[in-house]
């Protein structure tokens, strides 16, 4: 019991200290004549370089703007949705928060995020690509400032493709899907698959790449959206399926893998080509064994090289007391110079056209030149405007696509699940 008593005493003392040191939970300062305006900014940065960039930008802002002080809070990607929803309901949301464009429609419907259209300057409107603005604009309201986007490219084991005498595509002359399939065929041996498609959560990737063939997957996405599945929508899943089960040039193991899961076997030479998002370059750089050479190949071309893309965004909470100051901070945080740092830190595309010209984001050795070249082909994914898309994706699309890629259902059955089952969900959101 002596131990117990000691623990009790220590804890009691700790509680007193805790009570003394605890925050009052208040949000933001009053910004009176004597006191600076206080803003809270929740970032989701998690890579070392990105965290440092966030800290450094906020520090510089605070030094240069003594009247508007920003407190940096760190959230995390895996739980940010629950955390934000709760804090919106409770009125404790951060003034400025980092998230992604797919959620803003829902948040704007609930009145959680501020329409920034009357606050944004012409400078930032002109600097950021229109395709990126589209991802945050609903009914003329602008609910965030887009700043990072991901695109899909292809990574290749250089030694293997060189040895096979494969003629590599260039930014000006990218591979078509047929040429990609032919290259995979040529690279497939007894001990190696020509390619692997990581398909753990395939919906986003399939829908975004579907834009190569003009696939919409939804009719009237911003109105009474209905899931549709025609020839264009079938193209990408069918081509991947054929490579896995007909040509046997893509590994079936990819069905259960995330992109990161595929890396060990890619490094081991078991896969020659790895289609993936541009952020995977960070892991390739960090994890590739000594002597392993990888190269970034341009995005594949169907009828076009267009890809659907969402954007990471900074938004302002509707409950903020200082909307003008919050937007001032966002415009500083996302100026071209800072976007270079943020994009480099997360290995993603900046939405700033000025930032995209930076030599740092056009380096050939790390595939930045190829990644940056995809920017012009990014367009707002139509699904982003569909109310109920997230539920459709998690309950219908991801499971159905996985069944199809596991060769358990046919392409017709996939279409039926995506449309008939899917529309039951979408109808609920339209009542």
């Amino acid at each position: 019991m002596r131990v117990f008593k000691a623990a009790a005493a220590v804890t009691a003392a700790g509680l007193v200290l805790a009570a003394c040191g605890s925050d009052d939970g208040g949000d933001g300062g009053s910004g009176s004549a004597d006191e600076p305006v206080e803003l809270t900014f929740q970032t989701l940065a998690w890579q070392t370089a990105s965290i440092k960039a966030n800290e450094q930008i906020v520090k510089t802002w605070n030094e240069e703007n003594p009247d508007i002080q920003v407190e940096l809070l760190q959230g995390d990607w895996n739980n940010v949705h629950d955390q934000l929803v709760t804090s919106f309901e409770g009125g404790t949301a951060p003034d400025v928060f980092h998230y992604e464009s797919t959620t803003l429609l829902d948040f704007s419907d609930r009145g959680n995020v501020l329409d920034l259209s009357e606050y944004l300057s012409d400078g930032i409107r002109e600097d950021i690509r229109q395709g990126a603005w589209d991802t945050v604009t609903y009914d003329d309201g602008v609910y965030g400032v887009p700043f990072l986007q991901e695109s899909q490219v292809v990574f290749a084991n250089k030694a293997v493709v060189d040895k096979a005498g494969i003629e590599l595509p260039t930014i000006e002359d990218p591979w078509t899907w047929d040429e990609f399939a032919a290259a995979a065929q040529k690279l497939t041996t007894e001990n190696r698959y020509g390619a692997v498609f990581p398909l753990k959560s395939p919906a986003n990737r399939v829908l975004n790449l579907g834009r190569n063939f003009g696939a919409d997957y939804f009719s009237d996405p911003s109105g009474d959206a209905k899931a549709v599945f025609g020839d264009a929508e079938a193209e990408v899943p069918q081509r991947i399926h054929e490579m896995i089960y007909t040509d046997e040039t893509a590994s079936p193991d990819g069905v259960g893998m995330s992109s990161s899961d595929a890396l060990p076997a890619f490094f081991d030479g078991q896969y020659a080509l790895l289609p993936g998002a541009i952020w995977l370059r960070q892991q390739l750089t960090e994890q590739a064994p000594d002597g392993f050479e990888w190269i970034t190949l341009p995005a594949l071309e169907g009828d076009s090289q267009q890809q659907g893309a969402v954007a990471q965004t900074l938004s302002v909470s509707a409950s903020t007391e200082h909307p003008e100051e919050a937007v001032q901070f966002i415009e500083y945080f996302l100026n071209a110079e800072n976007q270079v740092k943020l994009a480099a830190g997360d290995w993603l595309l900046p939405t700033s056209q000025e930032a995209a010209k930076s030599p740092r984001l056009n380096d050939e050795a790390t595939g930045w030149d190829v990644a940056t070249a995809t920017a012009d082909n990014l367009e707002m994914a139509p699904f982003q405007q569909v109310k109920g898309f997230e539920e459709w994706k998690s309950k219908i699309a991801n499971p159905a696509l996985q069944e199809y890629f596991s060769d358990e259902i046919s392409i017709e059955e996939l279409g039926t699940k995506l449309t008939e089952d899917g529309n039951e969900i979408l109808e609920r959101y339209q009542r």
Binding site: A12, A18, G25, W46, L73, D82, A288
Partner: protein
Amino acid sequence: MNRRRPAVTSLKYLALVTYLIFLAFPLFWLISTSLKTPQEIALIDPTMIPREITFDNFTTAFSEQPIVRSILNTTLVAGASCVLTVLLSIPAAYVMARYRSTLSRATLVWVLLSQIFPFILVIIPLFLLLRDFGLYDTYIGLITVYVVWSMPFALWMLRSYVATIPYELEEAASMDGASKARTIKDIVAPLLAPGVVAAGLFAFVSAWNEFMFALVLIRSPEQQTLSLTLVKFIGAEGVARLGPLAAASLVATVPSLIFFAIMQRRLTGGLLGGAVKS
């Protein structure tokens, strides 16, 4: 029989060693991963012992996230939850075990019923309550929630322990002139030690590992607990930075291991052997 005994003993030890390996392997793997380079972590054939030992993961973990601060916060929150849970549960468990009234039975049923509410059902009302009481983003608010969350199980466990203590011991103390309070303090409480330790460990570990309440109820970086800090090594699309995550998790495990080491000695039974003639 004698000839079989060495074989049986050997098998028992073999089973014990196998079980120990089974239990210790995750910890071993955590240590091994924390000392590997990113290249070695991504090998297709994972290595048990790092080929090249690096402490970079620890450096990264400590430089990027306030690990020490989070450990201190978690120790305070878990320690306080543990002590308060036990202190509040002992008298309640005593009353419920010794005084069989309608109220006591109703309380017991309510304690059981309270366990069936999924936490997601209570998280937003709790959040609103704490905010209205000015306890949002405070240790006290989080500790209160943890105590309330752990108490039903602790209460149930301690009630069973109290029920096993022969009432004759209390009667004997009473006959020797001890007051009720003194009887509980000097007779019942020491005999409850294993139960108190078990309930305390449960409350401590629950609070140490808890994530969702902390996520919703704590905002300030300086008040964040370990689970909130560790998850920051996992990024978009569930991609984890395994090296720094393993290093931080390893460091985070140490205080709870020490706590276990101190407390487990108290987890001994048989204190009541021969206390009364049956």
